[in-house]
Structures are given as structure tokens and as C-alpha cells.
């Protein structure tokens, strides 16, 4: 695809098609390949039975849910005239499996419940799980430092048909480096509900490249616009298919 400023990216129509089957839902996405170096990871197609034995490709989050790596893929965007790389995309797709305790708190198929739970989850990340700090100045300062949305209304939504995909921003702050902190743009965590127990999240970041003595001269607003266009294209090639049972449960949960 061609973007503004003579930036060209991969052709998603020619990209590899990847599927994952979670039993009651499936996801289909397209993954361009890196022209320079092939560093990627793609998990097995069949995800109906999740592994029980700990391996390098899954972790248990401190809040109790399990996170499985499904995809790690990288590709680049180029300046059409000079053929120099101008941006790198890092695309990570992960599966989250909720334990019974959290399932009792939230149903990912309920749009409102899900977004409220995600917002609280981010607030807890900001205070490293210490619930006593919720509502404190420390929480607010940490959320700002992590470039997180400060209210549910600030959460961006990708409308994907029946269910919304909340897009929450995050950026890890640097210690004692105001200059570097000011330069940051947030990455997106995009959440895709699958069932009452499972949902996906995409960790998406685009880094704009620079070189000594040859800085990128785009204003920050233009960089953000370019990033937004790239993200829109990626999301437009992701399709989720639900079983008829799940479709009924989605309707019921959102009545």
C-alpha cells in the first residue's frame, strides 16, 4: 500500500494467510514478511486445547490469567524514492485465557463489561497490582507516565461488526530521561473478544527510523497520522468468525 510522503508498505493482498482455531471462534489474518531478515514466530493453527506444561511461549500474568504467544512478526515501510527503510512494524498476537475467578468478574462478550474491565486492568498495571493505590495521585501520575487512557471515554474503539475491539495505548516510561519520554509515541494494545473465557490481544508498535545527521523531518502530528493509517490497514485484514452458539451468546450478553 502507498501512504502519504512517498512511504510504501507491503501488499497485504499477497501476504501469507494465517488462521487460528479456538474451537468456538477462529481468526484469520494476513502477515507480510520481512524483506531483510526472517525473524518471526507463528504458533500452531489448532489452539482448541491449550498446553498445561509451562514453556517459553506462555506465561502466567501476576493477575492470574495465562498469556500465550501466537504471532511475532516484523515488516518494514520504505521511502519510495530512496528505497531506505523509514518505519518498522512490530506485530504481536497473544491469546489470553481467563481463570474462573476473573470469568466471574467479566464476560468479554459483553461490550460494556469488557471495556470497563480492561480499563481497570490498565489502572492496576499502573500501580503494579496494588489495589490500595487505585484512585490515588500515584495511580494518575503513573497512568500519565505510561501514556494510558485516563478514562473509559478516552479509549479508542475499532468497530469490527458485532463486537468492538478496544484499543488501549501504553508506553513504558524511561527512568530520569525527560527528553526521551517527551519523544515517545504510545503503542496500542488491541483487544479482540473470542468467548467468555478467551480473548486475543494485539501488541502493535511502529517505530519511525532516524539516522545521525539525517533526521526524519515529519512533524509529530504527521508521524501519528502515518502510524494510524498503517494500523487501520493491518486491522482491516483481520477477520474473526464465531460459531452460531457464540453469536447467540454475544447477542444475549449485549441485550
Amino acid at each position: 500500500m502507498r501512504f502519504k510522503y512517498d512511504v510504501i508498505g507491503p501488499d497485504f493482498e499477497d501476504a501469507d494467510i494465517i488462521n487460528f482455531d479456538f474451537g468456538e471462534a477462529e481468526i484469520c489474518l494476513r502477515l507480510p514478511q520481512d524483506m531483510d531478515k526472517q525473524i518471526s514466530y507463528v504458533a500452531a493453527w489448532d489452539q482448541k486445547v491449550l498446553p498445561a506444561v509451562p514453556k517459553n511461549r506462555w506465561d502466567t500474568h501476576p493477575f492470574g490469567f495465562r498469556i500465550f504467544d501466537l504471532v511475532r512478526q516484523f515488516w518494514s515501510y520504505y521511502d519510495e524514492t530512496t528505497e531506505r527503510c523509514v518505519a518498522n512494524e512490530s506485530f504481536q498476537l497473544n491469546l489470553i485465557e481467563l481463570p474462573d475467578e476473573i470469568c466471574a468478574e467479566v464476560n468479554p462478550l459483553n461490550k460494556q463489561e469488557f471495556i470497563e474491565w480492561l480499563f481497570k486492568f490498565f489502572r492496576l498495571i499502573a500501580v503494579r497490582g496494588d489495589e490500595s493505590l487505585l484512585g490515588s495521585d500515584i495511580e494518575l501520575a503513573n497512568m500519565k507516565a505510561h501514556m494510558m487512557p485516563l478514562s473509559i471515554e478516552q479509549i479508542e474503539i475499532h468497530h469490527a461488526g458485532l463486537l468492538d475491539w478496544p484499543m488501549l495505548t501504553i508506553s513504558m516510561p524511561y527512568e530520569d530521561d525527560e527528553e526521551a519520554n517527551a519523544k515517545r509515541d504510545p503503542d496500542y494494545f488491541i483487544y479482540i473478544p473470542l468467548t467468555e473465557r478467551l480473548f486475543l490481544y494485539i501488541d502493535q508498535s511502529i517505530s519511525i527510523l532516524s539516522r545521525e545527521g539525517n533526521p526524519v523531518t515529519l512533524p509529530k502530528a504527521d508521524i501519528l497520522e502515518l502510524k494510524s493509517e498503517i494500523l487501520s490497514e493491518i486491522l482491516s485484514y483481520i477477520k474473526v468468525t464465531y460459531s452460531s452458539d457464540v453469536l447467540q451468546r454475544i447477542q444475549k450478553a449485549n441485550q
Binding site: 512517498d6 504481536q92 519511525i208 515529519l218
Partner: protein, 384 residues
């Protein structure tokens, strides 16, 4: 997206700052860049023979990326100062810089030996990409599932991967996980961005830039902070050079620390000696603490002239009981290629070509002509 810098660096490494021609003595250091740049179409493009090893490390003619760079340089015969990627030196006429996908090419347009203008490439510098992330230590944060940069943190029982030229932070993190086969929670990355790799001595840089010094200093401080801990340092490619430089600033013992080197691009013999002096040993279960995979083209070229010394150092590791059967096999494979030095042989062929092209003919009235059938830089590169 990029604009030319206002004041490109001086191109003083080229033979003359004011003259529009090269002396015959200087001209004998140059050969034609490729078969397509011998002046039949457009200006002839010539390049200094001394640049051959660095150019060979930066450009693999078998890849799309390498062919792109070669094409960009060949196109200099048609370009002018206003062409994309070309930056004119505002302080010196006839001198320019071309930015390609992974290097800067410094050249001058001067009178050639036929009285026509020719392009003389006098220097090249590595110019790898740098993403927005600075050099430093990145440790996995379990709450956000992201890596966070730390100045000082305890790394007890962690594996710290120090990368070579490998792209942006996220890509390097994934690569580190694959190379070390370590879970994210036990892995930390000392990230070396492209602008730091560019400034390393192994890429021909003669003076350390602020970003290089800063990266070395950060790593030294982290090593000192973790002196009493058990840390496994895995250095790959140019990362080994960063590790060596950081270690030289650390005094005393680092007993309990261990190491693994993958395709190191540094003075490996010195690094092994330095680690031995500081009591850094391979992990007890390591079968090949120093691995030459043969897959890293830059490493393969870099070790060519020092192979025997490296083999001797690797044999010592085996004698000390730090390496197992795979290590011995690798040493045997390296020994089998000791006499095979395509880089050195082809550089010598280019030196001979340049000398023949520009030999002094008698009587003086005989017109000298460049031998357009002579070996070109790229033809020699294709043999490496």
C-alpha cells in the same frame, strides 16, 4: 521524508580539498566500481581499493538489498548534486555524499585520466537504521507484558543478550528470545541500536562518538552494579565488541558471571583473554561457548585474517574443559578453511589491477588509457 543535513561532514579523506584532479600516485589506489561504470555510458565511477573489506561486509551481491546498493552507486554516473539521496558538501565543491540503504558513500567528481569528469569514491561508512529506542538495558515487566528500560537493576540468574546489528528493539527482543531459548521473565536485553553499531571500531570508525561512549559506559555500570550476582552474558556479532569495550572499564573479578559468544565480530582472542582474567567462564552445561555458525557473512569475512589465532584460543577452551563435542567439530570446520581467504586474495587482485592501470609509461608522450577490461570492484566482490 529526509532532508539533507545542513552541514555534511567534511569529506577530507578524499585526496584533495581544492584540486579538481587526482595525482597519478593517488589514482593508483582506485579501480572501476563495476563493469557498468567504466565511462562508456555517463561518468566513470571508481572506488578506492582499501575499501574492499568494509564494502564486502556491508554489501552482499547475492541479496536484493546488496543489489539495491550496487545499483544506487552505479547510478552515480548519471546523478547530480540535486538527485535523491545525494548531499552536496557546502564547504567544498565537487564533493558529495550518497546515502544508501545501509551506508554513506563519500565521493568527489574530479578530472579523470582521460580529461573527462569521473566519480572517485574515497570512503564509505556503515549507516545502519536506528529506531526510536536508545541503547541500554531492557528488562521484561510482567504486569504490562512489555520490556522496560532500566539504568541499574539486579540481574541475578538472568541471561543478558547483547545484540549486534539487528534492527529495531522489538525485533531484537524476539531474536534474543530465539537465540537464547530463554523465557521472557529470565531474559534481559542490552540493546545496541544502529547508530552505536555504526560507530564501532569493527566498522572502521576511528573515534568513538558520544552515543558509542554512552552505550559502553551504561554497560560497564550495569556489570559493576551486578558484580556479586550470577549473570549469563550472551553477545552476538557486534554486541561482542560492545561487551569487550565495556569490560575493559571494569576492574577486578567477576567470578560467578558466565558468557556465550555467537558469531562475534570483535577481537575475539582479546575478549576471551579479558574474560579469563576476570574469571568469567562459560556456563557449566555449555557445549559450545563460542559459536561460529557460518551464517553471519560479516563475521565470516571479519575472522578471515585472524582465523588461526581464534582457532588456537578455541582449542584452549577445550583443553580447560569448557567445551564439548560440537565445539570440537566447529573448530575442525574452521581449520579446514584456514587457507581459504577470498577477501584477501581478491583485494590483492584489485591492488594489482590498479597498479597495472596506472603504471607509468615511457616515453612520456604515450597517452595512458585506463584498461576498461580490467577487474572491477564488484566483479571481485562477487568472488568472495
Amino acid at each position: 521524508m529526509a532532508t539533507p543535513p545542513r552541514n555534511p561532514k567534511s569529506l577530507s579523506h578524499l585526496p584533495s580539498s581544492t584540486n579538481t584532479f587526482l595525482s597519478r600516485l593517488d589514482m593508483k589506489d582506485y579501480v572501476y566500481f563495476s563493469e557498468n561504470t567504466k565511462g562508456i555510458f555517463g561518468k566513470a565511477v571508481k572506488i578506492k581499493v582499501d575499501l574492499f573489506p568494509r564494502f564486502a561486509a556491508l554489501v552482499d551481491p547475492k541479496t536484493h538489498a546488496g543489489q539495491t546498493v550496487i545499483r544506487q552507486i552505479e547510478n552515480l554516473r548519471m546523478l547530480n548534486g540535486a538527485s535523491p539521496g545525494v548531499h552536496a558538501n557546502v564547504n567544498s565543491a565537487f564533493r558529495f555524499m550518497l546515502t544508501t540503504t545501509n551506508m554513506k558513500v563519500f565521493y568527489a567528481v574530479l578530472d579523470g585520466d582521460q580529461g573527462r569528469k569521473e566519480i572517485f569514491i574515497g570512503d564509505i561508512k556503515a549507516d545502519f537504521d536506528s529506531s526510536g529506542n536508545d541503547a541500554g538495558l531492557y528488562v521484561f515487566d510482567t504486569f504490562s507484558n512489555k520490556y522496560k528500560k532500566h539504568k541499574q537493576v539486579f540481574l541475578h540468574d538472568k541471561t543478558v543478550y547483547i545484540n549486534g546489528n539487528s534492527g529495531n528493539l522489538e525485533k531484537t527482543l524476539e531474536y534474543a528470545q530465539q537465540q537464547t531459548e530463554t523465557s521472557k521473565g529470565n531474559l534481559a536485553l542490552f540493546y545496541v541500536p544502529g547508530n552505536v553499531v555504526n560507530g564501532l571500531g569493527v566498522w572502521g570508525s576511528t573515534s568513538q562518538s558520544l552515543s558509542v561512549k554512552s552505550a559502553m559506559s551504561l554497560l560497564s555500570d550495569i556489570i559493576k552494579f551486578n558484580r556479586e550476582k550470577r549473570v549469563i552474558w550472551v553477545s552476538e556479532a557486534e554486541g561482542a565488541d560492545v561487551f569487550l569495550n565495556a569490560l575493559t572499564d571494569v576492574t577486578g573479578s567477576l567470578k560467578g558471571h558466565s558468557y556465550r559468544l555467537i558469531d562475534p565480530i570483535t577481537d575475539t582472542v582479546s575478549l576471551l583473554a579479558n574474560m579469563k582474567a576476570k574469571e568469567i567462564k562459560p556456563p557449566v552445561d555449555e557445549v559450545a561457548p563460542v559459536t561460529y555458525t557460518g551464517k553471519n557473512r560479516v563475521t565470516n569475512l571479519h575472522i578471515e585474517s585472524k582465523k588461526q589465532a581464534i582457532i588456537d584460543a578455541l582449542k584452549m577452551l577445550r583443553v580447560k574443559g569448557f567445551a564439548d563435542f560440537p565445539h570440537q567439530q566447529m573448530v575442525k570446520e574452521l581449520e579446514a578453511t584456514v587457507g581459504n581467504a577470498p577477501l584477501g586474495k581478491n583485494k590483492q587482485a584489485l591492488i594489482d589491477t590498479a597498479a597495472l592501470n596506472h603504471r607509468v609509461l615511457h616515453p612520456k608522450s604515450v597517452t595512458r588509457e585506463s584498461n576498461k577490461a580490467a577487474l572491477s570492484f564488484i566483479t571481485a566482490l562477487q568472488r568472495v
